[in-house]
Symmetry: C2
């Protein structure tokens, strides 16, 4: 009975229901695009954090073993990577704002679909919302772990620097008198 | 340069911007459908009110001039019309809820479009919102006026009924003694 389907009624209710399905469709597309972008940005951010962590670890391992020129060049790389991390974080924040817009629009459009009698579109949108939220949650956990690791590395660096500084002090104290002696 | 346009970049920003335009497009369609439905429902409601008003006026004009059977039949029509008015009002409320959903989705999608860099889609949606709101405002004013007129007609009916009742009382008081006299 395809003909019967074609002459389906054009009541306001039916037209509103169809239009509300257009809204859930596009809201779902918008949510997909913003989720992909946010997941990608969070992944890049976590990667940038891991690169920074390994640079800092390499620096920590070489404390006291580098010439000032070598030390300066490793610091240039670390500073560059810190800029990269903060750029990636900015990108996350930007896409996070788009993503939150998409989440809100999806929630409203699911409600509108339900009120318009488009239960299927409502259910599908709610499922999409859950999938998107758990995807983002998962990748957020990874970047939070990387942030925690970086903080640990920084603490380690401070400790190593303190150890090194005190070893230099002792060394200097040992050296200085010798120098004095030599000057004499 | 149509070829240059075809190879436009597929960055997340550009895909999000396109997707947000899909959302404003469908939100605008949804707003149009719900506005049409609500304006239509409010128009039908105002019409039903005007029919009820003229029925009540006809009844008022005929108070005391009808036989019980005639009075009963005019009341059947008035009661039927009151049911029609309340059905129309229910329809208005139902479409009003869809319309409010559409207004909220349009506002959010305009904001999302702006945040995604789709300024034109944002502006177009805001214009549509204003047009829809002023259309509904206009027709709401008409139905509010009809409601006010109905209230006035009811007040008039109560007054006329009171006048008629007191005229019957006087008539009855004048009649009763005569009847008594006749009985005697």
């Amino acid at each position: 009975v395809p003909f019967t389907q074609q002459v389906e009624n054009l009541s306001h209710e039916s037209l509103i229901r169809r239009a509300s399905c257009l809204v859930t469709d596009s809201a779902n597309t918008y949510l997909s695009q913003t989720t992909l972008a946010l997941v990608d940005a969070l992944t890049q951010y976590a990667k940038a954090l891991h690169t920074l962590i390994s640079l800092q670890k390499r620096y920590i391992a070489s404390i006291g073993k580098l010439s000032p020129v070598e030390e300066d060049s490793i610091w240039q790389v670390i500073i560059g990577q810190r800029v990269e991390v903060s750029d990636r974080l900015e990108e996350c924040k930007r896409f996070e704002s788009n993503w939150m817009n998409a989440i809100n629009i999806c929630e409203l459009s699911a409600e509108a679909a339900y009120n318009s009698g488009a239960e299927h579109a409502c259910t599908a949108t709610k499922t999409n919302l859950q999938v998107a939220q758990s995807k983002v949650e998962e990748i957020r956990k990874i970047s939070k772990e990387a942030e925690k690791k970086l903080a640990e590395t920084k603490a380690e660096e401070i400790q190593r620097m303190a150890e090194y500084a005190s070893s230099i002090d002792i060394h200097d104290l040992e050296d200085v008198p010798e120098a004095y002696l030599r000057e004499d």
